[in-house]
Amino acid sequence: MATAPYNYSYIFKYIIIVMADCPHTIGVEFGTRIIEVSGQKIKLQIWDTAGQERFRAVTRSYYRGAAGALMVYDITRRSTYNHLSSWLTDARNLTNPNTVIILIGNKADLEAQRDVTYEEAKQFAEENGLLFLEASAKTGENVEDAFLEAAKKIYQNIQDGSLDLNAAESGVQHKPSAPQGGRLTSEPQPQREGCGC
């Protein structure tokens, strides 16, 4: 245990759904990063997947136990925006009521090709009770903010007690443990020594 490269107070599980007609990934990417909210180090376990209709059924299993869901559309392609509502339904039905859902308009750097206005998406987000921001994965603008915004909100939910850490699927772990790569089921995995770093 002493060699495990972790020290942080919480682990938040995030699922990122990138609305796409031509996907950047077929499957689920898995990654981690550490951020700081209110002086607390938080380890994010990020499941990143393409919101392709044909994989919708399989993707459903990844929502389970997510503390945050990031729904990403492309501001230059309305089709990706139009897909949102059905995926949002999944996100709502398959996560717990406290899961923080954040809507992200990607490619904010391509203003000239904009196909979805900020106001329209903002309104959609408000109507559906989502956090919203536009970002650019290319320039990096606001991407960090998206992670942070969601984490802040989750942390706030923990602080005011509305997110019960003892609930089975809160998506938040308080004590570091072995990272569980994209396991579909919630069976515990044997811990392996952290070999990194």
Binding site: M1, A2, T3, A4, P5, Y6, N7, Y8, S9, I26, G27, V28, E29, F30, G31, T32, R33, I34, R54, F55, A57, V58, S61, R64, G65, I158, L165, N166, A167, A168, E169, S170, G171, V172, Q173, H174, K175, P176, S177, A178, P179, Q180, G181, G182, R183, L184, T185, S186, E187, P188, Q189, R192, G194, C195, G196, C197
Partner: protein, 866 residues
């Protein structure tokens, strides 16, 4: 003095106070009461152990059990937590005390414990004593504590049930991913356990320190005073506040604070408070100071103050003592030290009182070395070796070092002093000579001595010692330093103070301290954290797949199709597995399998995976009906890593194999000539169709495919030896299947054995057996009664009845040629019994008795006229 000895005396057999007790302050509202804390372990009879914290009220210094009295017991139960808290409003960095909060389901206590390694070790031991959350371990019951419960009236029980939580009232722990987690509070000791990443960040930050720090000068006052056991009698301002500018940091050391035996043996003296007060009152009036730390070993005391505005930049404060007196351990001689971090510079201040007497300079050198080697400070990370004095950026060493002036007689010394020829006198100074010989204080610097020796005076005067011993004057009291960016501004004695036989010495320094530029620090810290994230993510396994989508064209009944692909591993060893989706029973549909479906890959290695598609009797019907399709998504999971989705698609060619008898009867055309929807609709038709078949084309009496096979055998194989007992050829089966499904029966050319086997496979693949499941039980019951058996057969749906009779007629025909084909009733009954009658429960292994009855049932129809 180890006070756990006193605690141990109060304990019962089997109970052990396992670590040196800590004296702390119990805070309840505004009340502050001293308590002695002992961690007590009890060994259970069946093995295993339980722990509890015992809190005692006590006399000033507990030596025996009579000095302590049990106040309360806190069992270290599963819901026990111990967390470090920051008291509101206090400058926590002053760090002298560690405030901890103890919580169990029943109570919550706040305690202040003295800063330092004893407390740290104590807390670590408590953290270790926590029973953890392994469900395999039984909950601690604390039965052994019951003797304290009633007998000890002082023990407060908050509820009648006492402190021991009843089973079931324990809060349920969060279970995420199967693990159990303790309460949300930061559990003490956790950080230490999981500190590696912090350690890496710290060492990388240390490497890049220059990039985010600026050197800023701070003024340090360093003073030393051997007070010869006296109490403060005069104001210390002439010594402590002689400069115009208020120092930023005060390091004030005393020796011979208390020469009484009590101080020596019990480490306790009222002088500590007296001198502490005297110093606090005489600090520079232009600034407000906060005490960082006080450390004392018998008569050697060191005080550290900082200006209040700097308090927030003081961290990692620790203090230790090393005794070098009698037996090399006692505290009449030795040193005390306080180490801390000021902004980003680590500083260690040492106050030592080295061995006395002119000739003992080698003993003094040895004392110095002992202090250096034995003075060890705790590291935040327990995996790192303890910190020593030399591991600091700046070391300030003060004290009564006791080096004398040698080779000169007293009169000569006094003459040189009178002439203020300190330079000449300095030539005879032992410390100077030992420094020059590099036998002590290596790497240290001392400023020029421009003041007369500070020892030894008649108390209350500036007169040299007039006692019998008539000690020669000496520069006993000294200040040395080691480190970069240290500038000595003054080095002097203070003749005005006359309380002691020594004069106090002071030195003022400007010390260049590394001050963090917050903005740059943030940026570099961010970079480091990002690079660690990157490294961690680079250690997540990743593979490449030679193919990610699989299409199986024109899949046919019982015809294996294989698609293969290669998994090429990246640089991280990985375990892979095709995993089940939550609602599925298997990782893929029944007609598919991956070979191998899990495995392990070394870095940069390959493995070939074969996806095998095979439709058999179990899966064919639903593919015919369209209820199932050749469509699936495999999820290839890498342990600790990503998941890959592998879509599988294709089309299935419907076959008479796997189609029900009645469905085939309604198919006047070959199955492959029919539209997909018709096949689907007919396949889904229920067994009992007679009533509402008016809208359909008039059906055949029996399936044409069955007729084709039987007719072929009737024409070619009635005399075939070992018919139904020799296996056919797989290739010929495929040909027969294709002929039947396309209606090209004229092209059929296959061996009799292959056709016979195809017939058996056909019967086997029927989703509803010829003797329908619903009739199975009654058939077994009337087996042996031919009339009753015939009666049961007559109740079957028309097409099934037709097929049964047709087959029996054919089998009787075969028996007529038994001389040639060697068949008899028993052989045929045993082959067809289990094909025509099948247990509805679908058990593969039928009981022998049941099998026998099924054979008997068929047997009757073979040896009796139909």
């Amino acid at each position: 003095m180890d006070q756990s000895v006193a605690i141990q005396e109060t304990l019962a057999e089997g109970e052990y106070c396992i670590i040196q007790a800590v004296q702390g302050v119990l805070c309840e509202g505004d009340s502050r009461q001293s308590r002695l804390l002992g961690l007590v372990r009890y060994r259970l009879e069946h093995g295993g152990q339980e722990h509890a914290l015992f809190l005692y009220t006590h006399r000033r210094m507990a030596i025996t059990g009579d000095d302590v009295s049990l106040d309360q017991i806190v069992p270290v139960s599963r819901d026990f937590t111990l967390e470090e808290v920051c008291p509101d409003g206090d400058l926590y960095v002053l760090g002298a005390d560690v405030t901890v909060q103890l919580d169990t389901a029943e109570l919550s206590l706040t305690l202040q414990l003295p800063f330092g390694s004893h407390t740290r070790m104590f807390l670590q031991e408590v953290a270790r004593a926590c029973p953890g959350f392994d469900p395999a371990n039984p909950d601690p019951e604390f039965l052994w504590l019951s003797r304290y419960k009633c007998a000890e009236p002082k023990l407060e029980s908050p509820t009648p049930g006492g402190w021991n939580s009843a089973p079931g009232t324990r809060p349920v722990c969060a279970t995420i991913g199967g693990g159990s987690y303790p309460s949300r509070k930061r559990v003490w000791g956790l950080e230490e356990k999981f500190g590696l990443r912090d350690t890496i960040v710290k060492s990388l930050l240390a490497q890049k320190e220059g990039e985010y720090t600026d050197i800023q000068n701070f003024r340090f006052f360093v003073g030393t005073y051997n007070v010869n056991g006296q109490s403060p009698k005069e104001c210390l301002r002439p010594w402590l506040s002689h400069g115009a500018q208020a120092p930023d940091v005060y390091c004030v050391g005393f020796q011979e604070l208390d020469l009484s035996k009590e101080a020596f043996f019990f480490h306790d003296t009222p002088k500590e408070e007296e001198w502490f007060k005297a110093v606090s009152e005489s600090l520079h009036p232009d600034a407000k100071y906060a005490k960082v730390k006080l450390i004392r070993l018998v008569g050697i005391m060191l005080l550290l103050y900082v200006r209040q505005e700097h308090a927030a930049y003081i961290s990692e404060v620790d203090a230790e003592t090393v005794g070098t007196g009698i037996m090399g351990r006692m505290g009449n001689k030795g040193g005390v030290a306080i180490r801390f971090r000021f902004h980003n510079t680590s500083i260690c201040v040492v106050n030592s009182h080295l061995a006395a007497h002119m000739e003992e300079y080698e003993r003094r050198n040895q004392d110095y070395k002992d202090i250096c080697s034995r003075m060890q400070f705790c590291q935040v990370d327990p995996d790192l070796p303890p910190l020593t004095i030399s591991k600091h950026d700046v070391i300030l060493w003060l004290g009564d070092l006791n080096y004398r002036i040698e080779e000169l007689d007293v009169e000569k010394v006094k003459k040189l002093i009178e002439a203020k020829d300190f330079e000449t006198l300095y030539g005879y100074d032992q410390l100077r000579n030992q420094l020059a010989a590099k036998t002590v204080f290596e790497g240290f610097t001392e400023g020029t001595l421009t003041f007369q020796p500070t020892y030894k005076y008649d108390t209350g005067s500036d007169d040299w010692d007039t006692s019998e011993k008539c000690r020669a004057p000496a520069w006993c009291d000294r200040v040395l330093w080691k480190g970069k960016d240290v500038t000595q501004l003054s080095y002097q004695s203070h003749m005005a103070l006359k309380t002691s036989d020594h004069k106090p010495v002071s030195s003022v320094f400007d010390i260049g301290v590394k001050v963090i530029n917050e903005e740059l620090y943030r940026k570099i810290l961010e970079e480091i954290v990002r690079s660690l994230d990157k490294m961690e993510n680079a250690n997540i396994p990743s593979v490449s797949l030679s193919k990610r989508e699989f299409c199986f064209q024109n899949v046919k009944y019982m015809q294996l199709q294989v698609e293969s692909f290669t998994i090429h591993n990246g640089q991280v060893p990985c375990r892979f597995e095709f995993i089940r989706k939550p609602d599925d029973e298997s990782y893929c549909k029944q007609w598919l399998s991956a070979n191998p479906s899990k495995g392990f890959l070394l870095p940069d290695s390959d493995i070939e995976i074969e996806l095998e598609l095979f439709v058999n009797k179990t899966t064919a019907t639903k593919l015919n009906s369209g209820e199932d399709k050749i469509e699936d998504i495999l999820v290839l999971h890498l342990e600790r890593g990503k998941d890959y989705f592998l879509p599988v698609s294709g089309n299935y060619l419907p076959s008479c194999f796997g189609s029900p008898i009645h469905t085939l009867c309604y198919m006047r055309e070959p199955i492959l000539d029919l539209p997909r929807e018709t096949v689907s609709k007919l396949t889904l038709m229920p067994v009992w169709t007679e009533g509402d078949s008016s809208q359909l084309e008039s059906p055949l009496e029996i399936p044409k495919e069955l007729w084709m096979m039987v007719d072929h055998l009737y024409r070619n194989a009635v005399q075939q030896e070992d018919l139904f007992q020799q296996p056919g050829l797989r290739s010929e089966f495929e040909h027969i299947r294709d002929c039947l499904d396309t209606g090209m029966i004229d092209n059929l050319s296959a061996s009799n054995h292959s056709v016979a086997e195809a017939l058996l496979l056909f019967l086997e693949s029927l989703p509803e057996p010829v003797v329908c499941y619903s009739a199975y039980r009654s058939c077994l019951e009337c087996s042996g009664n031919y009339m009753a058996s015939k009666q049961v057969i007559s109740t079957l749906p028309t097409f099934y009845k037709n097929v049964f009779n047709y087959l029996m007629a054919f089998l009787q025909e075969l028996l007529k040629n038994s001389a040639k084909n060697h068949l008899d009733e028993n052989i045929l009954a045993s082959i067809f019994g289990s094909l025509l009658l099948r247990n509805p429960a679908g058990h593969q292994k039928l009981e022998m008795a049941e099998k026998k009855k099924a054979q008997e049932f068929i047997h009757q129809f073979l040896c009796n006229p139909l």
